[in-house]
């Protein structure tokens, strides 16, 4: 079996990323999967991308734009971000 390689992009391990560790994964051609050297994660590209999307759910304001920082003792006001707008 040939040694593992980097994939077409440097995908990071989604499980390590959840605990704030940037761990590049390697690609096992024989099994057609990415795997992590630090934890037991292994999975296809689709599985990796699916997990990234789950990770992003913690960013509750990911697609929102601040419209007003408001009074000091109040939360800011947001609106949905429009694509292409700044």
């Amino acid at each position: 079996m040939a040694q593992s390689t980097k994939g077409k992009l440097n995908y990071r391990c989604p499980e390590c990323f959840k605990r704030d560790i940037d761990m590049d994964m390697f690609f096992d051609e024989a099994k057609n999967e990415y795997y992590c050297l630090r934890c037991c994660f292994h999975g296809s590209e689709d599985e990796v991308l699916k997990r990234y999307n789950i990770f992003k759910m913690k960013y509750g304001r990911l697609d929102e734009r601040v419209v007003d920082f408001g009074a000091d003792n109040e939360p800011p006001k947001f609106k949905k971000h429009e694509a292409g707008e700044q």
Partner: protein, 639 residues
């Protein structure tokens, strides 16, 4: 100029960027690639009408092409040509210094001087003048002093990465040794003794204005990975803070972050600031982690476009680093004026709010999601000398020590036993206790004659059927009480006055308010040995039998004091009521004495921790049926 964002955009051509060499695996010519990236960054700024500071690296001083481009851009766009002490690694450097090291603050003192002279000398040879700005990820006081003495034209430097310490180390799989927590988040004038500390006066002024490497999210970077939440679009991509729609990649968080920095003008007499410093490795053609080059490039262009838009709207002024230094000194004539930031969550959707404060005496953070608990405290007043580099006690760890760091050292929540570092308040009633750490609130900022205040929205504590409505005022005293007389010498003192007000009628019921400070010291998650710490409590009581020579008929105030030397035995000293009194810890390891004292307290106590829980506790408390309890947290230089 007031309320306009002062902006520094810095580009460094690296002909051998530390990231790209490995990422490309030697498959392509990093020299050409690095030059292309530099040109792309320059073009992105210029086409949005923004000028830059070109920080020439050692490696690029050997490239006539880059030298020519820098001169052209200086003439055409007004870009400043500065000199970076990053980007040292290249064939010439490695052959000359016989090392793979590349961080200026990690070399021994003689080599630091040699490298500085080498870089500045070569710069002069190529450009015919000495630079006005320089920098690195971190610049220690020794290096700043040497640069300023030999090359006095330098007036601005990149001198730290805010909160890049153990968190960055962990994120990089424990391989990235940039330990430099504890500095200011916005520009400051570094002390001659330790570059993290803002200078206290002209004698302490190192002669430069320092800027942080990136403007970072003051909440997300403190709570989590320090490298995902800054004015560095590829860091934002690194944090996966973007989404895709039919029109492409969107990252509104990046604009929200810039806007929150603009909002900080409100707390800093109209001054607000942003810094962008993206190394070429982040824009390499092979992509960076999950992002292909196209997304990396788009994010950089989008950020420049946003700054350009702000400039067009009159909300932003692009400056070179030396211009920023002049502007900073003009707008900060008073060394004692604090940098303040009431910072809100703009990413996760919580109502969390922090207050960050930095002056020549201390840096601290209050968390209003925990009732205003102090979750970070750095005793700048101590001016811990802390030399860094080979041959010193801190080969790589340049972080300024904390007394409280609630994320490294637990804070309120611990597992089953022990205590974390945090300062807060407990309310006791009928044998039950509530900690204000469990009250979520927000606060209002106020400028005062003597400093600044932050005042919480009132919180309601329910204990044994009694409701107690409490408002807290944190008053940072910048100007009053800044000097104390000790053995005929003056010593700066950093003081925070904390007032807990009971706002409702307790119907004659009495509650006890206990102000506490649970501290440690160090720069990482791990506590060094504490046996050097002295703990003590004191109170002033009136001896009615003694004759007061100044006020006949009145008694004499006498001081009662007791101390213990820390030995992990859980011993406690407790003194009863006094006209005033307090508890203190003297920590020679970090040159600091910290005191918590109260106004007419009913009790003052100090307690040492145990081996399983290496902390010290300072407490003052008062029983009240209404009204308020005032206490003061003071920091002094010890030794």
């Amino acid at each position: 100029m007031e309320n306009k964002l002062a902006l520094n955009i810095i580009h460094r051509p690296e002909l051998s960027p530390e990231y790209a060499e490995r990422a490309l695996g030697g498959k392509r010519d990093v020299r050409d690639e690095s030059l292309d990236i530099f040109l792309f960054q320059q073009e992105s700024a210029h086409e949005c009408g923004l000028k830059t500071t070109i920080q020439i690296t050692y490696a690029s001083l050997f490239s006539d092409k880059i030298v020519e481009i820098a001169k052209e851009h200086h003439a055409q766009y007004g870009d400043e040509i500065g000199l970076s002490l990053l980007g040292l690694p290249c064939k010439q450097f490695k052959e000359k210094y016989k090392t793979e090291d590349f961080c200026i603050w990690m070399f021994d003192e003689e080599t630091k001087k040699q490298i500085v002279d080498d870089c500045f000398g070569l710069f002069y040879e190529k450009f015919g003048f000495y630079p006005e700005s320089t920098g690195s990820y971190f610049l220690d006081a020794f290096t700043i002093k040497y640069i300023k003495e030999k090359y006095p034209s330098v007036k601005c430097a990149v001198a730290t990465c805010w909160e890049e310490g153990p968190k960055a180390y962990h994120t990089c799989n424990n391989s990235w040794y940039t330990f430099m927590d504890g500095g200011p988040w916005n520009p400051w004038i570094p002390s001659k003794v330790n570059s993290h500390c803002p200078a206290s006066d002209a004698n302490d002024d190192s002669g430069i204005v320092a800027i942080p490497h990136l403007s970072r999210d003051l909440m997300a970077c403190f709570d989590g990975n320090g490298s995902n939440f800054g004015t560095h679009p590829q860091n934002v991509l690194r944090g996966m803070i973007y989404y895709e729609d039919e029109k492409g990649t969107e990252y509104p968080y990046l604009y929200n972050l810039i806007d929150q920095y603009r909002h900080l003008a409100k707390y800093n007499h109209g001054f607000c600031y942003n810094m962008v410093f993206v190394g070429p490795g982040w824009l390499n053609k092979a992509g960076r982690w999950e992002s292909p080059y196209e997304r990396l490039a788009k994010s950089y262009k989008d950020m420049m476009k946003y700054y350009g838009k702000l400039k067009q709207e009159g909300k932003c002024v692009d400056m070179t680093m030396s211009e920023l230094a002049d502007y900073y000194r003009e707008t900060h004539p008073d060394y004692r004026r604090a940098e303040c930031a009431l910072w809100k969550d703009i990413l996760y959707g919580s109502d969390k709010e922090y207050f960050w404060y930095a002056d020549p005496n201390m840096r601290c953070c209050l968390d209003f999601n925990q009732g205003g608990a102090m979750i970070d405290l750095r005793p700048y007043v101590a001016r811990v000398e802390q030399k860094t580099g080979i041959g010193t006690d801190n080969v790589y760890d340049a972080s300024y020590p904390y007394l409280i760091q609630a994320n490294y050292r637990a804070g309120y929540f611990t597992h089953y036993a022990g205590a974390g570092t945090v300062a807060s308040c407990k309310i006791h009633y009928k044998g039950q206790t509530v900690d204000l750490c469990l009250t979520r609130t927000m606060a209002t900022f106020q400028n005062e004659v003597n400093g600044v205040s932050v005042i919480t929205n009132p919180v309601t504590v329910k204990i044994a059927g009694l409701e107690i409505v409490i408002r807290t005022t944190f008053m940072f005293e910048m100007y009053v009480s800044t000097l104390s007389l000790k053995n005929g010498e003056t010593h700066p003192v950093g003081t925070l006055r904390i007032t807990r007000e009971i706002l409702n009628d307790l119907h004659g019921e009495e509650v006890e308010i206990e102000e506490y400070f649970t501290g440690g010291f160090g720069t990482t998650e791990y506590q060094p040995d504490m046996t050097g710490v002295t703990l003590g409590a004191y109170r002033f009581v009136c001896d009615d039998n003694a004759e007061n020579p100044l006020f006949p008929g009145h008694g004499v105030e006498k001081k009662e004091q007791s101390e213990l030397q820390f030995s992990y035995k859980n011993r406690k000293i407790e003194l009863g009521a006094g006209s005033s009194g307090g508890a203190y810890a003297r920590i020679p390891d970090v040159n600091t004495e910290i005191t918590l004292n109260g106004d007419e307290p009913d009790s003052c106590s100090v307690e040492e921790g145990i081996a399983f829980s290496p902390v010290y506790h300072l407490r003052v408390s008062k029983k009240l049926k209404g009204g308020e309890f005032r206490s003061w947290l003071s920091l002094r230089k010890a030794n």
